[in-house]
């Protein structure tokens, strides 16, 4: 599909960011749910790393890991982005992370909407 601006770099990055932010929300949800689980250590997604790797073009999103040889790969393409930290869950830290994540998600959605508005205005010639 060659709709130019609908598939350009910035648009693709925004779309990917949305996916990652949703995934991060899940990671955080898992951390908070296991707040009192003994021996549970928190997991996280390092966004600086992820974005840098993406812009450099060498993002690893491997779904296959060494846990289960009989395991069917492809169930979760984003798995390679989640890191195990080995730290205990700190509730306050986690809640702050969640706020930041939500803000980033909202911001990305907003930017996406703006881009779409521009495209729409171009198509409709400002008659709406």
């Amino acid at each position: 599909m060659s709709w130019g601006v609908l598939t350009d770099g910035a648009m693709r990055l925004l779309e990917k960011t949305l996916d990652w932010r949703v995934q991060n929300q899940q990671v955080i949800a898992g951390n908070i749910a296991n707040l009192d689980t003994p021996q549970y250590t928190r997991k996280e997604m390092d966004f600086e790393n992820i974005l840098q790797s993406y812009t450099r073009g060498n993002l690893q999103t491997v779904s296959i890991t060494k846990t289960d040889p009989g395991h069917l790969g492809g169930a979760n393409p984003g798995a390679g982005l989640v890191e195990e930290t080995g730290d205990e869950v700190d509730l306050d830290q986690e809640v702050v992370r969640m706020s930041k994540n939500q803000l980033a998600y909202n911001a990305s959605v907003q930017m996406l909407i703006k881009k779409l508005d521009i495209i729409r205005a171009a198509i409709e010639g400002g008659t709406k």
Binding site: M1, W3, T7, D8, L112, R120
Partner: protein, 97 residues
Amino acid sequence: MKVMPLSPELISPQGAQSLEKPPGSRQEFENLLGKMMNDVNQLQHDSDQKVSGSLLGQEEMHTAMLSLEKANLGFKLLLQVRNKMVEAYQELARMQI
């Protein structure tokens, strides 16, 4: 939160083969139109898929909404192209020979 600077290769439309070059002959124009209709059709199919996927919990909300909007915009564009064509034809038809 650190704001990532956008590098040039990120925002330049690499996928922007948009409208290649203005069509020179009628044949090319027909193909272009046909291609546009196929693309729009594709967008509609894609969005149907994504929407039902999101209802089943397999697709994200934003993915489905975005695909709907893209299909919508694609269709609007096609509509405008059609309108312009009709206008152009009418303009021609009005010309005194």
